[in-house]
């Protein structure tokens, strides 16, 4: 008797669940764990659900280290998210694996995307289709320690604007002990951090070259421009002696510890640097050289997975449209500190005159986005190129040629 009652209860419960499922669509959203991003997305989901009562969004997060693996494994097994966050550099792999589908043109017309978003959004375009849209974008800038500038007799409100001023400021702010060991860097060198992006998309271009051609499928820096860029970078340690690779392990640690006057880093570092109590810091555009300014921008985009079909696809479309709306971007900027991906939301007078966001936003106007095939491997090529010169005293020209060859091999293998 009791058993029968239990069965009846269970059946009732199931039917209630089923009825709920029929009236409300649940879609799943995945991103990696980063506290402020998770909180911002929770906020967006709440607002979205309030505006769309028939849709619930389940928010799932994973540690960054295993994120890509999990997405790939679950989506290819027909499970997992309907809307997924992915790094723009993963898009080729995701398309090849049929993990994501092109954005439906009815909800996301191309002319509107191209008119309203920053041009770097084209990194999500393949074969005439957009595969995702970012909420926020990140660019690089020069962070400088105002206290160190003042101590060195520099104006703390006049950060370097050109590469010559940059080198001069680094030379003034570097501190060495009696044996010539650096005890506080003028510029924190860190090829494994953001310097490889700086070298690739900024220094090479400023010296008259381009890092790649043919949609970033052909390495093009093995020439005079690349050599000058590499020479400039290694000279910072060898000639001007204003920085030292490996000093305090990471550039951001050195800067945060007050033992580096300048560092190049991205918007994503703002949160960490905001915690600095012992000195005031400022942000400037990346220094211009030979009259050229450049920057590297990157972003995480949101895409609709191949799993979303029918009413889930409709819900996913609505959700994606909301998280790439100007309103969502403002919330994201406030909560995470990442720049809005739409011009109208980004280039407001308020944002442009903001001493922190301003330089990053200006950088977005002329930023480039490298279409990596394997970001970790390509970064490693740049790290090794500099290490060969600095540690093994290899001729920069040879090291550059070796790097170009190695990187081309990585790109060719991925294209297969």
């Amino acid at each position: 008797m009791r058993f029968k009652k239990m069965i009846a209860g269970l059946a009732f419960g199931v039917s209630v669940l089923a009825a709920n499922a029929a009236s409300a669509v649940e879609i799943e959203y995945w991103q990696y764990v980063f506290d402020s991003r998770v909180k911002a997305m929770d906020q967006l989901i709440q607002k979205f659900q309030a505006a769309n009562p028939g849709i619930t969004v389940k928010h799932t997060t994973f540690p960054y280290a295993e994120y890509q693996t999990k997405v790939a494994a679950t989506v290819s097994a027909g499970q997992g998210p309907d809307v997924v966050q992915l790094f723009y550099g993963w898009v080729d792999g995701f398309i090849a694996g049929k993990l994501i589908q092109p954005l439906p043109k009815d909800a996301f017309p191309h002319d509107k995307i191209e008119a309203e978003f920053f041009p770097i959004v084209t990194a999500m375009k393949r074969n005439g289709e957009y595969y995702g849209l970012p909420t926020a974008v990140r660019s690089l800038a020069l962070f400088y320690n105002k206290k160190a500038f003042q101590a060195a007799g520099l104006d703390p409100n006049k950060p370097p604007q050109t590469i010559e001023e940059f080198v001069a400021a680094a030379e003034k702010t570097v501190k060495r002990d009696g044996s010539g060991n650096i005890v506080s860097e003028g510029f924190a060198m860190d090829m494994a951090g953001q310097d490889h992006q700086w070298w690739r998309e900024v220094l090479v271009r400023q010296n008259g070259g381009v890092p790649y051609t043919d949609n970033d499928r052909k390495v093009a820096y093995n020439n005079e421009a690349g050599l000058k860029a590499l020479q400039f970078y290694v000279d910072l340690q060898n000639k001007q002696k204003v920085g030292q690779l490996g000093f305090m392990d990471e550039a951001q640690a050195a800067f945060k510890g007050g033992l580096a006057a300048m560092t190049i880093d991205g918007t994503f570092r703002l949160g960490a640097f905001n915690a600095i109590k012992s000195f005031e810091w400022g942000v400037a555009e990346l220094p211009a050289a030979n009259g050229v300014r450049s920057n590297y921008a990157s972003y995480f985009a949101n895409a609709i997975t191949g799993k979303a079909q029918g009413e889930k696809l409709d819900a996913a479309k609505k959700f994606l449209a909301y998280v790439s709306s100007p309103e969502a971007m403002e919330i994201w900027l406030k909560a995470v500190g990442e720049l809005p991906a739409r011009r109208s939301a980004a280039l407001t007078q308020e944002n442009l005159s903001n001493p922190i966001y301003g330089p990053f936003l200006k950088g977005l106007e002329y930023a480039h986005t490298t279409l990596f095939v394997d970001e970790a491997a390509q970064r490693q090529v740049a790290i090794d190129m500099v290490n060969r010169v600095l540690i093994q005293k290899q001729d920069p020209k040879e090291s550059l040629a070796e790097a170009a060859k190695a990187e081309q091999a990585i790109i060719d293998r991925a294209a297969k």
């Binding site: 792999g93 044996s179 650096i182 005890v183 490996g246 290490n387």
Partner: protein, 306 residues
């Protein structure tokens, strides 16, 4: 009808002899670990052999490529570099750690003053998480003004050393904490071995007037052979599989600088989980498996009692 099957099974149980029952009991307990090992360990291992002949990259279904991964591996200069590094970890690490731990155990065995406390001190690093330890050592090796070692060197007028930023010093610099961390375990095992040698042998030898060194050579070491064999095999496998120390001490440029500290396991990790080339990574895993197998077999044969 519902009661039929328990009755039948209990009749079956009653009909069994005590021996049969014991065997059944034993197997029913063993079944859990056997099942666990087959599903969690052996099956994936076999699967890795199959994967090594495919080009699986997580995103696309795997397709058979024959020996392509192995051919690529043989022609990959990085693999040979990594192979040399791994060999260096093994060839330097195993004898060094055994020598030190034996010396420590040999003398500690004779110390009675605060014996337990000293032994605990040696064992402590073994209990510490490798990752935490590696991060602390990474800071030890820093240039001035952060690094303790370089701070000491420059205070006595020796130029500071690059340590982890050098292609020659980095590997020994990583090996040092790895040896140090494993020491406690080896000391304990050696001491257990030393304690197991009957003291009457030593007494007889001393009455016969043998020197301490001869006693060590003729009695202690031969009788410690099983312990030594165990520790050689155990620590060799440990050094061949070294990963945590390297990964955590060269976190920003894993296995660097210029791959001079990269062991096979780290190469496998990067191939599999950074470049997503599962097939190629599986081929590397198979090679590592074969190396481990061969090294262990050789050691067992060489060190076996004749």
């Amino acid at each position: 009808m519902v009661t039929a099957s328990p009755a039948k099974s209990s009749r079956l149980w009653d009909g069994m002899s005590l021996r049969q029952k014991r065997v059944l009991w034993a197997w029913s307990f063993l079944a859990v670990p056997i099942l666990f090992y087959s599903v969690i360990r052996f099956w994936p291992t076999l699967e890795a052999f199959w994967l090594s002949f495919t080009d699986w990259n997580l995103l696309r279904p795997a397709s058979f490529v024959g020996l392509a991964n192995y051919i690529r591996l043989v022609n990959d200069p990085l693999f040979w570099q990594v192979f040399r590094n791994t060999a260096a970890y093994l060839v330097i690490g195993t004898p060094l750690s055994l020598l030190i731990s034996f010396a420590v155990a040999y003398y500690l065995d004779r110390v009675t003053f605060m014996h337990g406390f000293i032994r605990a001190l040696y064992f402590l690093p073994f209990l510490t998480t490798a990752a935490a330890m590696a991060w602390v050592w990474r800071w030890f090796y820093q240039p001035v003004p952060i690094g303790v070692i370089n701070g000491f060197l420059s205070s006595i007028g020796i130029p500071q050393q690059p340590f982890l930023r050098s292609v020659t010093q980095a590997l020994p610099a990583i090996l040092a904490p790895a040896v140090w961390a494993g020491l406690g375990f080896q000391v304990i095992i050696f001491m257990a071995g030393l304690r197991a040698i009957p003291s009457s042998y030593y007494e007889a030898a001393r009455i016969d007037g043998l020197s301490e060194f001869t006693i060590l050579r003729k009695i202690t070491i031969p009788l410690l052979k099983p312990t030594i064999v165990f520790l050689v095999v155990f620590s060799s496998i440990g050094f061949l599989r070294i990963f945590d120390q390297v990964y955590n001490m060269t976190f920003n440029d894993p296995g660097g600088p210029l791959n001079t500290t990269k062991p096979i396991v780290l190469m496998i990790y990067q191939t599999a989980f950074k470049s997503m080339e599962m097939g190629y990574a599986a081929a590397q895993t198979v090679v590592l498996f074969l190396i481990l197998l061969v090294v262990s077999l050789i050691q067992l044969r060489v060190l076996k009692d004749r």
